[in-house]
Each structure stands twice: as C-alpha cells, then as structure tokens.
C-alpha cells in the first residue's frame, strides 16, 4: 500500500499518532518539490495538508499534487478557524477539510470515510488461497513463500483463475478473457499455459489448477465438495 503525503508546518505528534493508530501509511513532505521527488512509485495514496500560519505554502503543495499526470486524491485539509475564507474558490483543491486544532475522533472518522474506497482496493489487491499469494498491484505471485517466475500470460491466467476459486472455466472463456479473442494460438493455448503453470507451481501445488474433464479448468476445490 502506498503512503499518503503528509505536510505539517507545525509539529503535531497527535496527528502522526492518530494516523499510525488508524493504519494509514504516511510520508512527510516539506516543500513543493518533495511532491515529485519523494513520490512513491505507485503514486501517493492521497494527501493530508495542514495549512498552518503560512497558507500560501500549503496551497502551493496542493497545486503541485493536483497538476501531476495522475492528480493525487483525496486531499484532506486541516485549516484554522480564522482561515476559513481561504477555502473560497478553491473547491477543486481539496476533498474534505477539518478545523485545526482537530478533534481526534472527528478527524479519524473523516479520514476513514475519505480513504474508504482506497482501502477497499488495497484489501482486494491480495489474493490468498492455500500456499498461494498473488499481489495484484505488484504482479507478484508467491507459493509457500517462494516467488514464482511467471511469464506475463502465465501470470494473467493464474490471476484470472484465482480470483474465482472453485469456479469452472471453459478453454474458450479463458482464451477470450485472458488472451483476447484475436489471439492466433487458439483454445489449446490454454492447455499449454496450464501445463507450464503447473510445472512452475511445483509437484506439491500443481493440483491448485484442476482439470475438469471435457469442460475446462478450475482453480482450487470445487464449491460443492
């Protein structure tokens, strides 16, 4: 999971503590340039910006976050009660705000709400089934703790199967959904890749992909067993 960008011109241990307790991963930025320089490879998961005594610096950082190819969102703004006029005509720069000093319970609730959609994705980014773990975000497939070195199509086939354990897919469906209809290899390509996948999964785990006679393939146990 990638971190949120955190800008706090004023020391605020309560804020970082609240974030840590709430399970938010954060990375501190200090200047406008840090937005790009410190950006994690997967991009910022969002930003929490404290305007503090010098609002212009805070706004500059937010503008930097928003003008990237993929604008960073959501942005949570912490703003003092006497600065509320700053919000006028800047609706597009933030997604929610909270008065600073904040009430921990309120901020926590707002953050949870704001990042809820992001959290959902990061939970389902991981497929786990028995000894197999697939990280959809990093394309990493691990079996019994050992990384699998798969070709792209092997990975795509494994991912497609593992998303729906117990479900039986015909070769034609797998071909259309994983390779796309125009692939010249035809439905037997699926057999070839299943064979290669099983070899790479190793003898112990080859049966994660089951052949369903005269139908197709199934990942994991049948739902009726």
């Amino acid at each position: 999971m990638s971190p949120v960008a955190l800008y706090t011109p004023e020391a605020s241990p309560e804020l970082t503590q609240l974030l840590d307790l709430g399970g938010h991963i954060w990375k501190r930025i200090v200047t406008e340039n840090d937005v790009v320089d410190l950006e994690p490879e997967e991009g910022w998961a969002g930003a929490i910006i404290q305007l503090g005594e010098d609002p212009e610096r805070g706004w500059a950082i937010i503008r930097a976050l928003r003008r990237k190819d993929v604008p960073t969102e959501p942005v949570m703004l912490l703003i003092k009660g006497n600065q509320l006029h700053e919000l006028q005509l800047r609706d597009e720069l933030f997604d929610d705000f909270c008065l600073d000093p904040f009430h921990p319970k309120e901020l926590e609730a707002r953050l949870t709400h704001l990042f809820a959609s992001e959290l959902d994705i990061s939970i389902s980014d991981l497929i786990e089934y028995g000894p197999l773990v697939i990280n959809l975000e990093t394309y990493e497939a691990v079996v019994e703790g050992q990384p699998l070195d798969l070709t792209y199509m092997e990975y795509e086939l494994l991912r497609f199967l593992a998303v729906a354990p117990g479900r039986v897919f015909t070769r034609e469906i797998l071909l259309n959904r994983v390779w796309g209809y125009e692939y010249y290899g035809g439905a037997r390509t699926v057999d070839v890749h299943v064979r290669r996948l099983r070899a790479k999964l190793g003898e112990e785990n080859a049966n994660l992909i089951q052949t369903v006679r005269s139908v197709g393939y199934r990942f994991g146990k049948s739902r009726w067993q």
């Binding site: 990493e140 990384p147 010249y184 290899g185 035809g186 037997r188 070839v192 290669r196 070899a199 790479k200």
Partner: protein, 443 residues
Amino acid sequence: MERPQDYVLRRVEERGIRIVRLWFTDVQGQLKSFAISPAELESAFEDGMVFDGSSIDGFSRIREEDMLARPDPTTFELMRWGNNDENAARMFCDIQRADGTPFPGDSRHVLRRVMEQARVKGYTFFAAPEMEYFLFEENRKGSPIPLDRGSYFDLTTADIASDIRRHTLSSLEAMGISVEYSFHEDAPSQHEIDLRYTDALMMADNVMTFRLIVREIALEHGVHATFMPKPLAGEQGSGMHTHLSLFRDGKNAFYDPNSPDGLSETAKHFVAGLLHHAREITAVTNQLVNSYKRLITGYEAPVNVSWARSNRAALIRIPTPRAGSGEDATRIEYRAPDPACNPYLAFAVILAAGMKGIEMGYELPLEAPPSMTGYTEHGGLIDQDQLPQSLSEALDEMEKSELVAETLGEHLFGWFLRNKRLEWAEYKTQVTPFELDRYYSSL
C-alpha cells in the same frame, strides 16, 4: 505503458534483474542477442532499440539500414540455467524498419503472418518437434569424437552423458519448455529430447532457446553439443521430426470420429498439400550442404515423398492413436526437417504447404507400403518423387516455387537463394577426403 510491459518492468525490479537480453534470429536461424540494462528497458518498450541491420545475415540490403528491435513482453523469462547467475532475463524481439513497419527479413514476422492467415480461416497450428543432437568430446581439431557407445533407450553406465541430460531437462523446464520424452538415440553419443506441443510461434521461440541451453550446458560439462544434421558418416543423422496438429474452434481438425481411419478430410488435404510441395520447401527445412548427407536410404531418414502409418522411411507418418484417444492424439509427423533449420521459416513453409492443400482440396495419394517392397533400388518408391538429393537441387526446386516465394516474401526468398547458392558454390570447390581416399593413390 501497456499492462504486459508494466508487468515486465515490475518483475525486473522485484527480482533484481541486472541484464535484459534481447533476442532475435537471423535468416539462417542463428540466435542474435544484445544486452540492455533495466534502465533502458522502458525506452526499449516505447521506442524500440536501434541497431545496424547490415551486420546481420539476411537483414541488410546493400547499404546500412537502421532497424528497431521491439521486445515482445509476453516472452519475458528469467534465464535460470547453468552459469547464468548474473540475474539475467531474456525477451524475443520483433524487428521493424526505422519507420515502424515490420521488417520483411524478420523470420519471426514471417511465421506470425502465416499463422495469422490460418487463423483468419479458423485454424490454429501447433507443433511438437523431436530434437536430436550429438554430444562430442571437446577438442581443438573440430573432429567429432563420441562420448560413448550407448544406443537406443540405453540406461547404463555407458551413458556417461546422463548427468548433462538431467541438467538440461531441469533447465528447460525452468524456462517453461515442457519435455515429453528424453532418451539416448540410436547412434553413439546421440540424444533426443521431444518437446510437448505449443502453438508454432511459441515453439519456434522454444527451439531457439532449446539449442542455446543444450549447447551451453554441454559446454559447462566440458563437452560439445552439435545440431549438425549428419556429423558421423555411417551413423544416423540428427533430425527434427515435427508433429503437427491443426485446431478449429478448440477441436482437433485432423480427427473425424465418423471416418473409418479417424482422419478428417482436412487432415488428408493438409497431408496432400505437404506432399505436393515437399520438394519445394526442403531447402528451408534442410538448409545445409550437410543436411542432404542425412536424407539417404538406410538411416530412418525420409528419402521419398510419401506418407504411411508405420513405414519410418516415409516423409510423413500418421501415427495411429490408441482407441479412444483420437481427439487428443491424432496428428501427423513431418520427418524431413533437421535441427539446424531456422524453425520460424521451417514451420512457416510447412503450414503454408498444408494450408494450400486444404484450400485447393488436393487428393491424398496412396499410402506407402509398410515394408521395403515397392521400393526402387535407390530406395525411392516406384512412381514416387524423391526429396532433393542435394542443397543445389533443393534450391532449384525452391526457386520455382510460388508457394515459398509468397510465404517468405520477396526479400527473404531472394536473400535465402543467393546466400545458399553461395554456400553450394563454396562446397563445390572442395576436394573431399572421399576423393583423396578413392583416387589419389590409384590414379
């Protein structure tokens, strides 16, 4: 960045890959490779890697021409064998002209185009070659000294190469190349590894990888592996018998449960097409002077243009599947190719010849008799054509062939003929040991 490219970039980072090898093939089927660092990978995907085509056989016209190597991300594979401990990975490349159009000298492109033409007609083409090769003592003279006197299916201490073979097999599996059988062949020091079928393009890539792995692992064990078609006079040569299947809508197009022999009309037309064009495509499937030393009577190599169910001297064998396994096992075996061929071009002309048979509805000739009866004294069948007897004859046949010209494209067709004529001309200037033995002292 598209998803397959993104996948490769992430794998390179996560697995700490330090070298990415970009592979492609020259017209003669020699593997060419250049290495790039992971930092260059993204631009290699986006813009291709520029190289000077004039240094590659069959790529240049007369002047220099800049070309682009475009890595195919779906072929990205870690190089996990032998001494490749440098964290290297490889990808096959498609070759383009500087303007981004496919380069007609790229044999991978030729095969892809022929397979695409078949796909449009509803067919997908699968191949499973039996790769034969010899292991010899490494020596400076370049003369072949066998390691053993083992023979077919031997599993004794005589088979001192079994370590090498085990090592080779595990390396192949690690590269995703599945093996069906592996055994000691008839001749001393000869080995055979049968690959499990894949679509023909993936298989041609596999053959390229296979030849490199076999040679590199032999070298690590201090021996020399060769895919030369006939390294030892008086012993069997190395072939690349290739099992062929055609699928339509995921079903075996060669199988018809309602036909008495289990063979569909499609299969019969395909075989007829291959037989009809066999002489024209032989220069491609057997491209060396030495290839024709293998295609002689008495060594289980095909000589005549014929098909049979059980006669192993026939050019095309149609194995009889076990009862009930027709859907899975019906296939044909084309026995001419040798392992020194360019697999992309060989599969391309084989498919094109078979598809021509389907398109034109060629009639299947009579089956060759199971025994030697009916053969002429030269080993050919009465009333049946023989395969070309020399590279020169094969080139004459190819030059007359519309089918091969169309399949390879004018650029490759012309280059191939010129280059191979030159090889033949050089061969003709040689005075061989045979001549010295035979004539020197007595004349």
